[in-house]
Every structure is written in structure tokens, then in C-alpha cells.
Symmetry: C2
Subunit: 333 residues, 2 copies
């Protein structure tokens, strides 16, 4: 018998359809094959020595010339542009805002063939610190209502460039998903006087069966109502509304947690495509009900008509089974 | 310069990113190739003569034996099962309902290689009437809160079986998307004393530039805030809350409208994969603010990390251009 589970943070229902259960190993076979990449490509705008092929650099870490470790550049085909002020138009049911915002690319590593799962923890810390630096600066822009930091790994996850990179999009509106989470978190706080993220973390730790990696400051787990196989959340243990306020010690621990988790994906599921998002909303730094976290969605299954047409997801893998499988994957040193 | 557009029915923002504009013809090239299918397959559970390979028939149209025109059967791997009553469980933040519901398959045509775009209007009317028959019966089940009727065309849209079929899933909860639309429609009615679907239809007809097919009782158009290239809505002109109350004359006209629209997709974009959904909620038959409609999402683009992580969509095609392209496609008789 299948079961509907409610995710109380996102207000999403998922049908855990055990009748059509897929064994964890089968997802590994379904993962798209990644081509073997060279360490450097002469025509890649993100490779060292080709800096002139990319847009003008915003900032970097590492040395000068081609001796950088990370670089931030504007997206060459930006979804939103940083000039001007957002103009609103109203014409009956048609409402628009001019496309003002920020769209940046974080080049994560000089090597064309680097993969986050195989990077050193120090490399990952540096990338997380760059995310935080840009987040802190951009949140002060009065035109910005929300910042989405995300990474698409692999073609199935939407990458068009091979070289490892992340993106940041700052929008003049609060996205629908952030709005739902905000409303739900406020309502939960009204009812129970507690942060729903803190509560879920405590309950997932107590249950234990869906926990993947519990480190000093972070816990990665497959949520009780995971929308898809291996859908993972990484929660900071400390109640903290905004990613901007994550401490260095926390980012160091997050890097270790993330490296272990991504290593399990890489080795256990043969380097599947995935999307990673930092869920954090600026402007609620002192709210008792807001709590930032990281979400990872491995793209091992397809969204079909029912999901698109209802918003209810069908997960063919029991979250407890998916978690047990990943816990059992050993990541070589 | 790009533009953010708000869909006032779904409360979804879309970034129309003209900087990365894709020409309509390029989507045709991106459409996945469909294999040439035989008219009949000995191992297909949905082909005539193989009725014993499928689950027990619920109903059919046409003659006895293998002389049917459409058949309805339970899904062999149901997401939800029709036995028992939905039991709710509460354990802190973990909430669940037992997987009670209905999951049926509508086999649309005896021919394995039939394609809705190429069927006769009479064939399509019959399929729509079967949808309506099942919808009317199932909405009376007190365990059912919502009914989603949908069709996945092609592997990219999530089909696992080639033989043309649609599905119906009745859930014991109102799906999140239906809930948002309901709340928005009530609020719009509160503010303006009018149905937002009727208002949008009037405004799209007046603008004209996004209209695809305007027939006696239906209008198909690419919405002002289309979430993806060729994302299409087909609205009944008559204010009517529920698909269950669509008249025969309306279904006849819808079949003609749909056939013309799907023909334009088939010929103009080389038979792209698509998802089709009937958006209708039982229990609001007399509501002035509820209005059923049909949604079609051709799967010519990928959902990437920003969409997944924010709920804001990026559409690389200007809806007005997509509509002009499809209007220009001639469907051979």
C-alpha cells in the first residue's frame, strides 16, 4: 500500500508509491553517463588563460593572472540585468516588472574536469565562502527581494557548460517557493512557538533512519516526505535565519558534510546529475521562524504529467531505503 | 532587456529572457525523435486481442471482444489504491495519509501507433467523453478531494508505454497547485467581482497576439506569462466551474480545437513530447470564481536548478513569438 506524506516545511504532498518501488541500485544504472573531460580546454571561457573569453571579472580568490582558485563573473546570457530600477506595469490581468536583477556565475575551480564530490574540503570551503561573500554584498541592494544560489551538475540538471560552476540569481520578487515556506514557517511558529526547521531536524535525528551524515554543525538527511529518490536536505544545527550569517566554522563543517554526501552520490549512484540550492531569504535575519538550509535533488527520475498538473509528486523509492543505501556507500579516501 | 511576468491565475512569476532567446524553429530540432511504431504489437497490454494482459476492464466504448474503441482499466502499478478509507497519522512534523485513491488508465485508441494529433475529431470527442464519464462517477466518491486527468505523450513527458493512453488520479487531498489557484481565484473575485479565467480570456482575445485557435466554445492561446516555450492554455468561453459540466456540444468543439492545436505542434515542432492536464476541481460546481480549463506543456526545454530552487521559471521564448510561429503552421487535411 502506498502512502501520502506531507512535507510541513514546503506544504508539498508526495505519494510514496511502493507498488512501483525502484531498488536503489537501479537508479545508478539510470544515471546519465558523464563524458571524460580534459583538465583544460583551449576554447572554454572558464579555463585559466581564457579569462578574456568570459565576461569582466567581479572578484576572485587565489593569485593574479591565471593563478586564481575561484572567479565570479556576470552570466554572459543573463536572465536579469543589473542596470536600472524595476519598473512595474499593470494592464488588467497582465502584470510585469522589467528584468532588473543580478545573474552571476561562480567558477568553482581552475580545472575543467574538477567535480565537487572529488574536490578537497578546503576547495569546497572556498566555494561556500565565495557564495557567502556575494550573498552578503547583493542582499544590500535595495532592488533585491531574494537571492537564489544554485548549482546544476550535468546536462540532465540543466548545465550547458562543462566547467564546474555555480550560479546566483537575485530577483526583484520573492519567489513562490520561498513565499510558501515563509508563510508555513510563520504559521508553524504561531501554532507551536518553535521553528519548523529546528523541529524537523530534532525529529529526523531522533528517528535516525533517514540521516545520512551528521557532522558537528550540519545534518544531511533524506526528508520523511522526500519528493524524489535521494532528494536530500542539509540543515544547520544552529537556528540561523540567513546563509549570510553562517560562521566560518560552520562553512568548514558544511564542506566536510557536503563532500561526504556528494561522495556517496558519486560512488554509489555513478556520478548522477543533480541540482543544489541554498534556501535562504534576505531580510529575515532576526526571525525566530526562518532557518536557512541546503537542498540537493539528484536527477535520477523524470517529472511527468501528474506532478506537472497537480504539484503532488510520486516518489518510487521509500526515503528510508534510499537513506540506508547511501549510508552503506563507502567513500574512498 | 528581459521581463518578469506574473501569471495571476497560478501566482507564478516567469522571467521572459530575451537575451537568451531561442528561435521557434530551434525547438523543433530539439524535439526528441519518436520511433516509428507498428499498428499492433503482440506483447502490448493495450492492443486489441491482448485484453487479458491488462488489468480488469472498468468500462469501454465500441463493440464487444476486441472491437472496442476506448477502454478504461486500473493502472497496473497504481500510485493510489481504491480499497479502504484514508487513515491519517500525526507524529510531530511527520504527517501521512494511507494511499487510498483511484488511478486509472484510459486506452485512447485500438491502434498502437495512433497519435492524438492525427486522430479524427470524432475519436478525440470519444476520448474526452470517457474522461468526463469517469470524472463524473469518481467525483461522487466521498474519499476523493481532487481528480487529475492527464496525458503524457512521449518518453520525455514521462510515458513508459507507447500505446496511446491517458491517466486519471483521484487523491484524498487537494493538490498544492489546485489550492493556490483556488485561493487566487477567490481573492480575485473578492477584489474585482469577476472570474479571473473569464477576465484573462477576454483580455487575451482583445490582445489577439497570443491566440492560437479560437473556435465556437474554446480558445487556445499561449498565456502572457507562459512558463515555457509553447506552454498553452485552452479555456472554455462559457463560465463553468467543473469539467463534469462540460456539454456534449462543448466537447465536440474542444476536440476540433485540440486537434488543430496538436496538429500545429505535430507538424510545426516535429511531434514534440507533451503533457496535457484538465484543470478542474470537484465540489465547486456553483462557484462564480472557479473555471475549468486544459493546460498543455510541450517538453521542449529542461527544468534546471533555478526553477527547482525558486519556483520562478525562465522562458527563453517570447510568448508572442511562439504564438505567431504556431499560428503560421498549416495543418494538412
Amino acid at each position: 500500500m502506498s502512502e501520502l506524506r506531507l512535507n510541513v516545511i514546503s506544504n508539498e504532498w508526495v505519494i510514496i508509491a511502493t507498488e512501483r518501488a525502484t531498488r536503489p541500485h537501479d537508479f545508478a544504472a539510470a544515471a546519465a553517463a558523464h563524458p571524460t573531460l580534459p583538465a583544460h580546454r583551449a576554447d572554454c571561457p572558464f579555463c585559466p588563460g581564457n579569462e578574456q573569453l568570459a565576461t569582466a571579472e567581479i572578484c576572485r580568490t587565489g593569485g593574479s593572472g591565471r593563478a586564481w582558485r575561484t572567479r565570479v563573473v556576470p552570466n554572459k546570457f543573463p536572465a536579469l540585468q543589473p542596470a536600472g530600477t524595476p519598473e512595474r506595469k499593470f494592464d488588467g490581468v497582465f502584470r510585469s516588472i522589467s528584468g532588473v536583477g543580478i545573474h552571476e556565475v561562480i567558477i568553482e575551480h581552475p580545472r575543467h574536469d574538477a567535480v565537487m564530490a572529488l574536490m578537497s574540503a578546503a576547495d569546497i570551503v572556498e566555494i561556500l565562502q565565495v557564495y557567502r561573500t556575494r550573498y552578503r554584498i547583493i542582499q544590500d541592494d535595495p532592488r533585491v527581494a531574494a537571492i537564489t544560489v544554485f548549482k546544476n551538475h550535468g546536462a540532465r540538471a540543466g548545465t550547458s557548460l562543462e566547467h564546474p560552476h555555480s550560479q546566483l540569481i537575485a530577483t526583484p520578487v520573492v519567489p513562490p517557493q520561498a513565499r510558501v515556506r515563509l508563510e508555513r514557517a510563520m504559521r508553524y511558529y504561531d501554532e507551536f512557538g518553535a521553528c519548523v526547521v529546528c523541529q524537523m531536524l530534532a525529529q529526523e535525528l531522533a528517528a535516525g533512519e533517514r540521516v545520512l551524515v551528521a557532522s558537528d554543525y550540519f545534518v544531511s538527511f533524506i526528508p520523511y516526505a522526500a519528493l524524489s529518490p535521494f532528494h536530500t536536505w542539509i540543515f544547520p544545527r544552529r537556528h540561523c535565519a540567513s546563509f549570510a550569517d553562517a560562521a566560518d566554522s560552520e562553512l568548514q563543517d558544511l564542506a566536510v558534510n557536503l563532500k561526504t554526501y556528494l561522495g556517496k552520490l558519486y560512488h554509489g549512484l555513478h556520478n548522477p546529475d543533480f541540482n543544489l540550492t541554498i534556501r535562504s531569504l534576505p531580510g529575515f535575519e532576526h526571525a525566530d521562524y526562518q532557518h536557512w538550509y541546503v537542498s540537493v535533488v539528484p536527477r535520477v527520475s523524470n517529472v511527468a504529467g501528474f506532478e506537472l498538473g497537480s504539484g503532488i509528486f510520486v516518489n518510487t523509492a521509500l526515503p528510508e531505503h534510499s537513506a540506508a543505501f547511501l549510508r552503506g556507500v563507502t567513500v574512498p579516501d
